[in-house]
């Protein structure tokens, strides 16, 4: 499963998709992927940063939505306090 998690005041909002079905082009899964891509682009436009988090691998900052990612975590824009 792939999962997009967006940090917010509600905790985190999430969208999940089946990576295998997405690669096979299954329509419901593609709809979930499109929704995740839309949220990703919307949050990036607001200044959020996206990180690809995968078990046993270093955390990686990403600029583009990655359908093959195990988990993408988006954090809101940060400022000096």
């Amino acid at each position: 499963m792939g999962i997009l998690r967006v940090m917010s005041r509600r905790g985190d909002d999430r969208v999940t998709w089946d990576k295998q079905k997405a690669l096979m082009g299954e329509s419901d899964t593609l709809a979930a992927v499109r929704e995740a891509e839309r949220i990703f682009a919307q949050e990036r436009a607001k200044g959020a940063t996206a990180f690809k988090v995968e078990t046993g691998k270093p955390i990686e900052r990403i600029e583009q939505f990655d359908v093959t990612a195990e988990q993408i975590v988006m954090v809101p824009r940060v400022v000096g306090g």
């Binding site: 905790g11 990180f51 900052r61 809101p76 824009r77 400022v79 306090g81």
Partner: protein, 136 residues
Amino acid sequence: MSLITQVLTILCSIVIALAIAPMVWLILQPYLKGWSRAERRASNLLRDILTPDQLRQLVWRGYLEVPSPSEPQRVYRVPRAKGYVQVIENGRATMRLCVQPVECLPDADIVLLHKLMIEANEETYLQKANKYICID
């Protein structure tokens, strides 16, 4: 007991209750926050991403140490609750950093935000942070 004494007793009780209420609220607030849905969700996300050792450190010591990916002798000490991130170099605190999200987030999400930014975006993290040098 006269009526005046009874009224005075009730008034005194109300005054004492009003004086104690803010203190009780301050003591209970962190526990009540932990029960909120947002805090629970944020804690679950944090548990998913931290290793058992990191989680233990956060719970028992009240902070999470994140090693710098660029400077081997540098460690960032991220507090469990809101506060400054301490920069430790060669075992000594050299700087305090203040970085915060533009959106209000649960405490557990803020810990994770620091970890992600430091591990994968350290340069931007340091650029954005307000820095306070520690002087011995």
